[in-house]
């Protein structure tokens, strides 16, 4: 087994609607930053935005973190197939996607090459999500849903997937804005997801804005960074960061950056307004800000989104909490006279 008897860092499945908001790109960067610190493994990436540019940008970010430091690794490493929904949500081919994808170097070659030219270069997102969970240890996976629940609802409809997720996933952290964009799939998600769901309210995303100033400072180490190019193309101003908060909470639950509401069951009313009906048996929660942690949250957002890529190790060290002190060497016997 790759990690011996210990579980590897938690596997994170990331589903978004890349292109709709820079928040998704920053959230993915944060997850790769956490991956580089061996706090999690990004095991699947998919988008519900049914445009090739959306999937291509996801792949570009994956390649950036897989190979920017080590060309040798980039050549031999395998980037994840990006899942892409083909219907359900209107296409959004926005500047944050087209600007980085169209950038070319002096030689005319793309700055960020990718392998997604046709729809067959993408993957069925429901299969991507399902397959990712099949490869995780029990209770050693989680999901960040930064976009609508279209893909997740489709995955939950596959035979055995509900049980699979119940076995593998600790929880789901979703973003209110994405859920509200497709109420029907959100309803399915709330009914079918077998574990806990934490939702980042839109107001929290507004409260913690990713600072534009960090783009010119924290990312200065890299002359070409797809997330930086996307940020600039999307307005280059402080950006609501609900997806980033979802990624942070998903992986760093132990840091207690945020609080959680009392348990209940989410419901999307006719106006698409998400409400939590309190219930002792409920497994759904709002994520709540903790003013005492605001500074730490802002620092973590910037530090992780701008983290340098780290070459993946085939055999990674165990997570800190699983590391055990090496056995003491046997006491030396007194030499015989």
């Amino acid at each position: 087994m790759q990690f011996g008897n210990a579980k590897p860092p938690m596997g994170v499945v990331f589903d978004c609607d890349m292109g709709e908001s820079i928040d998704d790109a920053l959230a993915l960067a944060v997850l790769y930053g956490l991956d580089g610190k061996n706090e999690c493994r990004v095991v699947a990436v998919s988008t519900t935005n049914p445009t090739l540019a959306s999937a291509a940008f996801c792949e570009v970010v994956g390649r950036f973190y897989a190979g920017a430091v080590s060309a040798q690794f980039a050549a031999s490493g395998r980037t994840l197939p990006v899942g892409m929904a083909t219907s359900g949500i209107p296409k959004m081919e926005t500047p944050m996607l087209t600007a980085p994808l169209s950038r070319k170097g002096a030689d005319g070659a793309p700055i960020y090459p990718h392998g997604i030219q046709k729809i067959v270069d993408t993957a069925d997102p429901a299969a991507v999500v399902r397959n990712a969970f099949t490869a995780q240890h029990d209770q050693n996976a989680a999901m960040v849903l930064a976009g609508p629940a279209v893909t997740l609802a489709a995955a939950l409809a596959l035979p055995g997937v509900k049980d699979l997720i119940a076995r593998k996933a600790r929880y789901l952290v979703a973003v209110e804005r994405g859920l509200a964009a497709h109420p029907a799939s959100a309803g399915t998600l709330f009914a079918e997801w077998p574990g806990s769901i934490f939702v980042v309210p839109e107001s929290m995303g507004e409260r913690y804005r990713f600072p534009a100033s960090a783009i010119e400072t924290a990312f200065a180490w890299s002359p070409n960074h797809p997330v930086v190019d996307a940020f600039r193309a999307s307005g280059n101003k402080d950006a609501p960061a609900a997806g980033v908060l979802a990624a942070l909470h998903c992986v760093r639950t132990d840091k207690k950056y945020f609080g959680a509401s009392a348990a209940g069951t989410f419901d999307l009313g006719t106006g698409g307004k998400l409400t939590l009906k309190p219930s002792a048996e409920g497994r759904h929660h709002w994520l709540e800000p903790d003013p005492a942690q605001s500074e730490a949250v802002m620092a973590a957002m910037v530090e992780l989104a701008s983290a340098k890529p780290v070459v993946r190790q085939r055999f990674r060290p165990r997570p800190v909490e699983q590391q055990v002190a090496p056995p003491k060497p046997p006491e030396a016997k007194p030499a015989k006279p």
């Binding site: 087994m1 790759q2 197939p81 899942g83 046709k118 729809i119 067959v120 270069d121 993408t122 993957a123 069925d124 429901a126 299969a127 991507v128 399902r130 397959n131 099949t134 490869a135 995780q136 240890h137 596959l158 035979p159």
Partner: protein, 447 residues
């Protein structure tokens, strides 16, 4: 006006200990015309599995859509270009490790037709019912044999064949139940006896006893043959004659192999009827399968060319190295060249079988057109043990149903189980899902 009574489709030439099923004859078709109606002939489903992956650089056609120049490994199929469909990007997720560590050969073969991840065990085996057996169990009653399982390499059924995976996984394709594989028949004589004898394979001792008095099986059905011939028109007489001749030739080939083997090495471990030459063995088995298809003895076949993970050498084509070690070539060009040669050699034998199926007429069509024969492997890159974009092609039109002569590229991670579910539909067996399917594959149909 037609006055002659049509012959029944299921008819045998019988004699002592022999029962030879007949191919489709015009005299079996009422009012002359039904055999000309497309889709009336039975549809056959077959799976031909080659081990250790395939060199995908020489397998994958350059373009999607109509097949143009075939790549090196597929080049022998040039004359059948219009009869095949190359499928790309099909994946077996359950062949992957999924926390079970090493053992890709055991997993990929066990998962291939079941779509289920095999339990990692040497003794407590468990996988799933294979799609061929689902069809055999639900539709196999229409033929003498619900299914046939054949292979070319003698292999044990117990013990550890790959990092803790039972040999049952690497050495079988068909699974009757989650725990019961159906071992392939390797010995041509055993297959012959199954098809034309009493339907069972004799023990080696019984066979040796009978061999002393061996005559052609056709000798036992002479009376039936004569009486049938008297009632056939000239076309049917010729067809029957060709069919019986092919059976006689098979018998002669088996007898020759047995004689050769006894002279070469009386103590050899494999059955006497197994030819020493790989191509000859392949031909003999596929000749019999062709006859079985022609006579509608079965509509379901699994053919494990050699067992998964095999280290068989191919001295026939000048390759003394083991197949499996060669596939772990670490990008050594000399080793990669040998792998490509083996892959091509397999396709050459397969092509010769397709020639036979194409020549076997069925009304206005032929047996190949009325079949869907999957040729493929459970690994794509045998060096890195990858389970996505598995090398897959379908030969035949599935009864004038598939639009052939094309390469179809599916989206990444499309489960191989989706293809098998679609094929089960074509066999009249409709299931909601199979293995890890997420739906049916699209684009195969004529529509």
């Amino acid at each position: 006006m037609i006055t002659r009574k049509a012959l029944p489709r299921r008819m045998f030439l019988r004699g002592a200990g022999a029962a030879i099923a007949l191919p489709a004859l015009d005299a079996m078709a009422p009012a002359l015309a039904s055999s000309r109606i497309p889709g009336k002939a039975p549809v056959r489903m077959a799976f031909v599995y080659v081990p250790n992956g395939i060199d995908m650089r020489h397998w994958t056609p350059e373009n999607e859509g109509p097949l143009d120049k075939l790549p090196r490994i597929l080049a022998p199929l040039e004359r059948h270009k219009d009869n095949i469909t190359v499928l790309s990007n099909l994946t077996h997720n359950n062949g992957r490790a999924l926390l079970d560590g090493a053992g890709d050969h055991g997993r990929c073969c066990g998962a291939y037709l079941t779509g289920v991840q095999p339990r990692k065990s040497v003794s407590d085996i468990k996988v799933g019912v294979s799609c061929d057996q689902i069809v055999a169990q639900q539709a196999g009653g229409q033929t003498r044999f619900a299914s046939l399982e054949v292979g070319l390499e003698d292999a044990r059924q117990a013990g550890d064949c790959d990092s803790g995976y039972s040999c049952a996984y690497t050495n079988n394709l068909a699974w009757r139940s989650e725990t019961q594989p159906l071992p392939p028949i390797l010995d041509p004589r055993a297959l012959f006896e199954r098809l034309f004898g009493k339907g069972v394979a004799l023990s080696p001792e019984a066979r040796a006893r009978e061999g002393k008095f061996r005559r052609s099986i056709l000798d036992f059905v002479t009376e039936d043959t004569r009486s049938l011939q008297a009632n056939l028109g000239p076309t049917d007489r010729r067809k029957l004659d060709e069919y019986l001749t092919s059976i006689r030739e098979i018998e002669a080939q088996i007898a020759k192999a047995e004689k050769d083997n006894s002279q070469i090495d009386p103590g050899m471990a494999k059955p006497y009827g197994v030819p020493a030459d790989f191509a000859e063995h392949f031909k003999l088995m596929t000749d019999m399968i062709t006859v079985a298809f022609q006579a509608d003895q079965t509509r379901v076949l699994t053919f494990l060319v050699t067992r998964e993970g095999t280290s068989r050498a191919y001295r026939e084509i000048g390759i003394p190295d083991g197949h499996h070690p060669l596939t772990h070539h670490r990008n050594d060009p000399a080793m990669m060249e040998k792998v490509a040669q083996i892959n091509t050699y397999h396709v050459e034998q397969f092509t010769k079988w397709l020639d036979k199926l194409k020549a076997a007429k069925e009304g206005d069509s032929n047996v190949l057109d009325n079949s869907m024969i999957v040729y493929g492997a459970g690994l794509s890159d045998g060096n890195r043990h990858t389970h996505e974009d598995l090398p897959t092609l379908i030969a035949g039109k599935g009864g004038n149903h598939f639009k052939t002569g094309r390469r179809i590229v599916y989206r990444k991670e499309t489960p191989m189980s989706n293809l098998f579910l679609t094929m089960m539909d074509r066999m009249g067996v409709h299931a909601e899902h199979f293995g890890d399917s997420t739906g049916r594959v699209e684009g195969l149909d004529l529509a």
